[in-house]
């Protein structure tokens, strides 16, 4: 699937929004506007945006704790996600989930998960529902390279294959399982070959190319929708930032970082737009609009209130004890 200029322009703006959002999140954290942790995927934007492009409205996504990009790509407003990170009542989940757990039933975002492979079995379940009800909805579940060593990964891969579930297993291979090189954590050179052990296709794709990602995702989705079952996609990508705040990335070289940044997906997309006839002034205008919108969303989120302590039992089951 080759992207139209219109699609490229939308992808460009969306990748800019995601990166700008995460850069602001990094700064908000550094300035102590929120605590806990936040796991950013600066540099990995093309995987999320390409994935959304390869799917249809109504398809579900189940991200990990490094999931801001997917929530945004699935239509979450910057304000709603900023507010969630900041623990505000106006957040996507009323501040109950935070950076790691944003989700939305309306948008089809299964909440992000802080257990790296836990959303894989859950995604099998959302896909099972679609299959049982005869819908052509697809679920894409996203996880990092490190998650491929957790038991739930293997159980879910097998379950999805044996039941022909309409699910796409999307691995963001950014070369590091948190701080440990993936090559020190698995014996195989390519994670995609693990798919063959479960009887499903495994494909490796350039995760720095929004078009390449959209292409393989749309093929996997077509396969899923036609009842042929799951596909495993290994998107090769790189996070420019650390795994978490305070991670100095001393487990990798500056040269390696520079090499990946030279293939930056947003820059590549801009080059394609210019080649398609957009002027530098036009791309600069898109950048400026994205920046302005993010600034407004961030300021509004910062000005919005924290949850009223009396609402602590929101979402608690009736039998949970919410008082001392």
């Amino acid at each position: 699937m080759s992207l139209s200029t219109q699609q490229l322009e939308e992808a460009y703006a969306e990748m800019l929004r995601i990166r700008g959002f995460e850069e602001r999140a990094q700064e908000l954290y550094a300035k102590l506007h929120f605590k806990g942790s936040t796991h950013l995927g600066i540099g990995q934007e093309a995987v999320a945006v390409g994935t959304r492009l390869g799917l249809q409205d109504g398809d579900l996504v189940a991200p990990t704790y490094r999931g801001h990009a997917y929530a945004l790509a699935w239509g979450m407003t910057s304000f709603s996600l900023f507010a969630e990170l900041l623990g505000r009542e106006a957040g996507s989940n009323h501040g109950r989930g935070g950076s790691k757990h944003m989700g939305s039933a309306e948008l089809g975002v299964i909440p992000g998960n802080a257990i790296v492979a836990a959303n894989l079995p859950i995604a099998c379940g959302t896909a099972l529902r679609a299959k049982m009800d005869g819908d052509d909805e697809v679920t894409v579940v996203v996880f990092g390279d490190g998650a491929t060593n957790q038991a739930a990964f293997h159980e879910a891969m097998n379950l999805a294959a044996v039941w022909d579930l309409p699910v796409i297993f999307l691995c963001e291979n950014n070369l590091y399982s948190e701080m440990t090189p993936i090559k020190d954590a698995v014996k195989v050179d390519e994670l995609s070959i693990r798919a063959s052990a479960y009887g499903m296709p495994g494909v490796r794709v350039d995760g720095m190319s929004v078009g390449a990602v959209a292409d393989v995702v749309s093929q996997a989705a077509a396969r899923a929708r036609s009842g042929q079952g799951p596909t495993f996609i290994e998107a090769m990508t790189y996070r420019y930032c650390g795994h978490m705040p305070g991670d100095l990335c001393d487990y990798r070289t500056r040269e390696e970082e520079a090499e990946w940044k030279s293939r930056d997906a947003i820059e590549a997309c801009e080059t394609l737009l210019i080649a398609a006839g957009k002027t530098p002034a036009e791309t600069a205008a898109i950048r400026a609009q994205v920046e302005a919108d993010l600034n407004t969303a961030e300021a509004e989120a910062l000005a919005s209130p924290l949850p009223d302590p009396s609402t602590i039992n929101r979402g608690a089951a009736a039998w949970m004890e919410t008082s001392r």
């Binding site: 989700g103 099972l128 049982m132 379950l159």
Partner: protein, 328 residues
């Protein structure tokens, strides 16, 4: 409502069957539950009636299929999952405790998990230390699940139907030694609310609190106390441990001034500790003696029949504890 004698296993099956008939979103999955009918035959016949789409055999993959049930529940289904043995819940512990139990709260009430986990537990017949554990205290400790442990066939039917209809995750814990036990079970739709204990025997001297298969030695002990010692024990079946029917327990202990909690699960850190501590706070001033606990020994369940017999609670253990509590 008319009632007829049914064994515990058939009462559970009847509840599932009725709920599957009335709600097309209800389905059941687990290991060997389809044409095989489950290792304790609870699901026998459901596969023939509802077909493989709604009575699904799964791989031996507890984290995988419990997770799948959670996912399906989050988007509108009402799954029942059979875990063949309670011990296997630990294979799926992340999905049960970190996932199912937290989705609703963490999402700010945007997602719910109306899933029922059915499982069976309990020692007996030499099942040993990895097929006979009673693990309800683990799941009571972490907020997330409502938990039922029925002791009678009628309760099993009524609580199972309620569990399936609840909008939050429920754990329905059967006991392997109860499956053939019969008692009168109402026909048709029959619901028992969670959080409503049953007073099985009224009495004024001491309150005996139990649930699941431990109700049998407890009821026997009450008979022995009456016959041999002239002591009138009030016997309460908790039915559900989340939520606990504190009103019924408190009223009874305030009347008798004495209480014992009896369960097969290990005593240390068990349900009995929670009940005894809470009841002590609620009834302090009317208590004539500390609330006692009787539980399984704090060792793994032994295999050999001579050792397993020691591990099990006997009615005499309860009688002796009651006499000590009553200073007789």
């Amino acid at each position: 409502m008319s009632a007829r004698e049914l064994p515990y296993r058939e009462a559970i099956r009847e509840a599932i069957q009725i709920e599957m008939q009335r709600d097309p979103d209800v389905f059941i999955m687990g290991e060997d539950i389809g044409s095989y009918g489950g290792i304790y035959k609870v699901t026998k016949g459901l596969y023939e009636e509802f077909g493989p789409e709604r009575v699904m055999d799964t791989p031996i993959s507890e984290a995988g299929f419990v997770g799948a049930a959670i996912g399906a529940a989050m988007v509108g289904k009402r799954p029942i999952v059979e875990l063949m043995f309670m011990d296997f819940s630990l294979v799926a512990a992340d999905q049960i405790l970190n996932q199912a139990g937290k989705q609703r709260f963490m999402s700010g009430d945007d997602f719910r998990v109306p899933m029922t986990i059915r499982t069976q537990q309990g020692a007996g017949g030499g099942v040993g230390a990895q097929h006979g554990q009673s693990l309800e205290a683990l799941f009571m400790h972490i907020p997330g699940f409502a938990i039922a442990l029925p002791s009678t066939a009628a309760d099993a039917k009524g609580l199972m139907a309620t569990a399936i209809r609840m909008d939050d995750p429920t754990m329905f814990i059967e006991h392997k030694t109860l499956y053939a036990e019969k008692d009168p079970v109402p026909e048709g739709e029959y619901l028992i609310p969670f959080g409503k204990a049953a007073i099985r025997t009224e009495g004024s001297d001491i309150t005996l609190i139990s649930y699941s298969a431990s109700m049998l030695p407890t009821l026997k002990a009450a008979e022995l106390l009456k016959t041999n010692h002239g002591i009138n024990a009030e016997v309460i079946d908790l039915r559900t441990i989340v939520p606990v029917d504190w009103a019924t327990l408190t009223a009874s202990v305030m009347k008798t001034g004495h209480g014992i909690v009896i369960h097969e699960a290990h005593r240390r850190g068990g349900v009995g500790a929670e009940i005894a501590a809470e009841l002590t706070q609620r009834t302090w001033g009317t208590l004539a003696a500390p609330i006692a606990r009787i539980g399984g020994l704090d060792i793994p369940i032994p295999f050999s029949p001579s050792l397993e017999a020691v591990w099990h609670i006997q009615p005499e253990d309860i009688v002796n504890t009651a006499l000590r509590t009553l200073k007789k």
